[in-house]
Amino acid sequence: MANSQAMCTSFKSEILSGIHALGTTVTRASTSADTIKAALYLASASLGAATTAYSATGEVSGAGYSAGGITATNATAPTSSGTTAYWTPSASFTYTNVTLTTSFDCVLVYNSTQSNKAISVHTFGAQTITAGTFVLSMPTNDASNALIRIA
């Protein structure tokens, strides 16, 4: 048996669960699972890797849509398989009976418990919705397909 350099897979999962605090000023607002939300953004917005938190700037607006988006169903804790840690919301993001007439192509997943800090940005082909429902289905929650993976 030989030693091998690696990022411990357990650490990857534990990052997703907020177990490790490597910074010196970490203050968690809650000791239970955080509330994760999903907000839609206009195609003209500029979200990406540099996005740090939810903002109403560039967010969609229209009948039936509440600023800040919807709360993600989070019934499945982060886990790992092989050397990949992963997490996926446990239900689709569903915006029911909305009218969003300006095209949008982006959803921001963010942590509303922790000062609305950003988690991930996902893009898709531009859409509009008229008196209808917009559904974002989640991929299979496994090491190859999960919405968020740390490999």
Partner: protein, 62 residues
């Protein structure tokens, strides 16, 4: 089937239905529209994302 529209709930037999789909590396999307006398009165869409967000972790060497 009753459809929610900009003019309230309507029976789909009164409406023109249009459907479409997009399938590429990033997504599989389907949409349905209902039109009344040339006016869009309902549009819904269903996006299935294919491409997850991946962060690759590495350790440094001494």
């Amino acid at each position: 089937m009753i459809v929610n529209t900009t003019k309230g709930e309507m029976d789909d037999s009164l409406l023109e239905k249009r459907e479409g789909a997009i399938d590429n590396d990033n997504e599989n999307t389907t949409w349905v529209e209902y039109w009344l006398a040339g006016e869009l009165v309902h549009r819904s869409a269903h996006v299935r994302l294919k491409k997850p967000i991946i962060s690759i972790s590495e350790t440094g060497s001494f």
